[in-house]
Subunit: 270 residues, 2 copies
Amino acid sequence: MSPDRLAIHTFTNKPWSIGECIENYSRRGIGGISVWRETVAGEDLKSVRRHLDDSGLQKVSLVRGGFFTAIDQAARATAIESNRAALREAEALGLPMIVLVCGATIGQTPEENLDQIRDGIAALLPQAESAGIRLAIEPLHPVYAGDRSAVASLRDANDLAESLNHPLVGVALDVFHVWWETGLEAQIQRCAAADRLFAFHVCEFKPDFDHVLLDRGLPGEGVNASARIAKMVQAAGFSGLTEVEIFSRKYWSENQHDFLEKIIKSCEPI
Amino acid sequence: MSPDRLAIHTFTNKPWSIGECIENYSRRGIGGISVWRETVAGEDLKSVRRHLDDSGLQKVSLVRGGFFTAIDQAARATAIESNRAALREAEALGLPMIVLVCGATIGQTPEENLDQIRDGIAALLPQAESAGIRLAIEPLHPVYAGDRSAVASLRDANDLAESLNHPLVGVALDVFHVWWETGLEAQIQRCAAADRLFAFHVCEFKPDFDHVLLDRGLPGEGVNASARIAKMVQAAGFSGLTEVEIFSRKYWSENQHDFLEKIIKSCEPI
């Protein structure tokens, strides 16, 4: 696909400031942007908002909320407060969606974690409604199910979204996390048919990764599932921008303009 | 549980020869043994068989067959030949079961891999029947779904075994691989109700692992799921030995007698 059909997550170009991301994406004809809270930490949000508005980039999402689970109630309440702050930031920046990495806590069963996640999202809904901001549950690869997200498959994410049954609650589907899942096409169709396929991210899983978080691949690398899953998503009627979210110490060590060109080229066949 | 209810995989004590494994497990009152092909490579199988028989250890399984997938037909045929050799080794050693790590090939979809796995297992069935050896499909954690096993959940393993529908085809369930799975209890019951729960392995997943293959934990470490899942397995009627299969450069660097004591102690609460 062409660059104007892509949105890039600011953390993909971690060495760049928010200003550099906006300028460089816009100049290169990228269609949209998803803003990481880390990238705008300490920035004046009003001024970032103006910069975003002036750039013509489509504002896709704020990344990320979530981490709802904890053994004790006080820590879960703190997590909800952090998500309330994220909702305020998204509103300030004019971002219509927050991606949720939902959390997992060692010592709790998947079911206990999922119950706390459901409660956490439900607690945010009144504020999300008044702000008009969508909450996108991102299923994470099960390698992260111990301490990052008990929502470990699209099937799980669909079940969770269905149980919440709210028009502002949907799913952010990332190739990196779900390429291994059997029955994926049916789960994508289920998600889209319920108007819950809110976002689609591309990034490849490398079986020979040298770091479990920070050695992710461009479309076509590793298990090479981006094009296959993009077809399923398009066939299910998804019409949003395709988001590029890649964490890579290797690519972060390169010139970020060169990396941006590699991203654009790797997404051409999708 | 007490040591006599445990079986140990020889690869757990990688620094030991097969002779040392047999002697030390037997001396310490361990109930059984699962033999890795790597541990007996180059050994005289008749003499190992006599040693095993004399030890009084229960002979649980040969580990491991599988790796059925490949892009080209010739490579898949070679894989089947390797599995035929494994069946002959299991027969020679008097081991009644082979654990299958089923394989995955980059460039194939999960469904393509699963079709090849199904064909591979089916091709072995006549020889397995004449030898009276059971084939246990081991679902692997999805972190290995790119290049080791497309069977990435107990749900997948149950579906595959059900589609083969043969009394010699069942499942080897390892805590390390399935602790993250939602609906696990129902899948364990489904597996056991169909007389397909052939084996149960304990080993813990550590979210902060330093190596994706060789940094596994004792029961109680990491996500601490062994006791929880052992309860489900016992409630479903599993009455076999609980197998300890841990790959760990850390523990391999220790005195193996000390490691064996740690294993026994870590399994007491299960």
